[in-house]
Symmetry: C2
Subunit: 416 residues, 2 copies
Amino acid sequence: MSDLNDYIVTLAKAAKKASVGLRTLSADTKNAALQAIAGSIEARRADIRAGNAKDVERGKKAGLSSAMVDRLTLTDKRIDEIITSLREIAGLEDPVGEIIGVRRPAGFVLEKVRTPIGVIAMIYESRPNVTVDAAALCLKSGNAAILRGGSEALESSKVLVECIREALSRVGVDGNAVQYVERTEHEAIDHLVQQTGLIDLVVPRGREALIRRVTENATVPVIKHYKGVCHIYVDETADLSMAAEVVTNSKVQRPGTCNALEKLLVEESVAERFLPMVRQTMPNVELRGDERVRSILPGTKLATEEEWYEEYLDLILTVKVVKSLEEAAAHIEKYGSSHTDGICSSDARHIEQFVSLVDSAVVTVNASTRLNDGGIFGLGAELGISTDKLHARGPMGLKELTTYKWVLRGNGDIRK
Amino acid sequence: MSDLNDYIVTLAKAAKKASVGLRTLSADTKNAALQAIAGSIEARRADIRAGNAKDVERGKKAGLSSAMVDRLTLTDKRIDEIITSLREIAGLEDPVGEIIGVRRPAGFVLEKVRTPIGVIAMIYESRPNVTVDAAALCLKSGNAAILRGGSEALESSKVLVECIREALSRVGVDGNAVQYVERTEHEAIDHLVQQTGLIDLVVPRGREALIRRVTENATVPVIKHYKGVCHIYVDETADLSMAAEVVTNSKVQRPGTCNALEKLLVEESVAERFLPMVRQTMPNVELRGDERVRSILPGTKLATEEEWYEEYLDLILTVKVVKSLEEAAAHIEKYGSSHTDGICSSDARHIEQFVSLVDSAVVTVNASTRLNDGGIFGLGAELGISTDKLHARGPMGLKELTTYKWVLRGNGDIRK
């Protein structure tokens, strides 16, 4: 226990020391580092695949599901994607030093300037590409990273982190800017999230149980989402064929993700027309609903009270008929997760009312909830999606990995 | 205990319910509410002074220092200032709904829109005007407020909160948008800061012990500063007479505040010239220092190691001679509080290096640390000054009391 804590403290101190040097790195140096990492990964492709083969073999023996084994496996194509992602992040604008606002309240100039957050700990599961994406995003935003991936991907991540640290040293950046927690005990996470003064932010990503464990134990600020119970409300003015396409895409395009649709709310005057359309556009989806839905679509299973809170991550959709936008918004407020919620409507006033009333990280208007994604938003790769309100909401790209400082440039200005 | 928790939960639930209505309030309604509060306070001036007189009498009996009694006392002039502050906040731009950024990554439009945070709990001490300032800032930024002032100001705050709630109802805003915790037990604070799901943010303001208690017990996010151990570094290129004026103003203009100067770092080649100047411009300040300082200013008391971390809030200044900007920055990193730290220099390269290396909420260049203030920054009244990095740093005005949501406006856009 205490030995484990010492191990974590040593990592965190090294990361904090490295983070001071990162504050003043030029964009050119950071981009050169990212390109060097891409080069290292290209050069050590065989080692990466060998390390990954060990993880896959161990995972199969341990009885991982075939879906899990698939997420764990690094094919040549996936290694190409990691390299492409690094080069894309190198191509993005450096957020550090950006002047967010300027004020001249008196004789002096006041700049609100974007700065790195400091040391970011990322806790995640399975997919080894997250190791490189997280390191690259932190590096480009001037933050030191402490990575703690799932034990099932340890051998893959070890080789990838070697590539990263070796590349950093090659371009003159402190290799300690990227740390990897090799200790696989669950308690390592508990120690990690309590390093107040050394770590500035924890970002957990994975199952709800992991995120709850992190949040409940953390003394360091955490940015996260627990789950995505995403809603679409179809009002009486909606273009129903467009709405059916949007709802279907939201539900079926990749049902296992946090931004997939889980609940459908339909205004009562269009329910009789719209529900059969949805039934037809997603024949492989199990619908569940309230009594009104069952009267329109006989054979629909009755949804339980608990189900309205549930994230299925599966081809199941719960449907409710509502009387008004207010009822829809109140339902989302009560049962939702403030992740991604949308409206299909052609009434501008309705749309504005929904947008200002529904307090979710991402509100969609006549569009698929599946579009909530850092890549699609043009933020570059994302570190995660946040439902928190302090300080990042929605997809977290480079800017969301920074904070700001105020710089007051005077000429002998004093307070009178 | 449990009865106290029930009391807090009831307040918090009412505030959360009111916060939903605040999301969609127009700027006109919010400004009308602020003007109505100003009118109520004007109309009930006698009641306010009577309530305050009870607090002052009780405080004197309880042996409050004369400085504390002074901070507690509401004169007619101070009531005028409260009213002026309300009208000023009414005159500020509404931050809610501001579009912070627009993107068009594909067919759809993506807006990053400023929104209220939700329910903000403010925990503070003594000065009754904070009750009105905090309520007004929260209201204008669309947030419900739960206020917990010091027990010594309870009677004053009760009348002020009556004025606020009565005025809100008069303009058709839910009076529950401003709640006041009348229970004076210390445990009320512990319950308050654990209302996850009902309260979105806690802002404590006061003694370091109060802030530590809040932070250690909170499950809700906290924005705060513990203390202000503010530094100025005077380099070898500084205009020394300007630097002496800036340093003196920073130290003596109001030494009991968090942005007053506590530590002075002087580059060695100018120390012999500069230190006697400072000795002369602040004759009533006790200097303490290292051996080099003592050799230049004989009779100076030797500073202990612990003192470098200390916030005196008094007419004492600790002085150190340093060899370089790097040494100064490393000293600030180790002993500072990331509140307000500055440089006096005429070398543009030095200034940029200091600005990017020193990770403080406010960095001053050739200017007094005392200028770190929401009013002086033009943010309107401030709720406090933050040394946190998520998500508000420095003075917290209206914009710092908001977060954002993403709004994706499509036309049937789906994910392929």
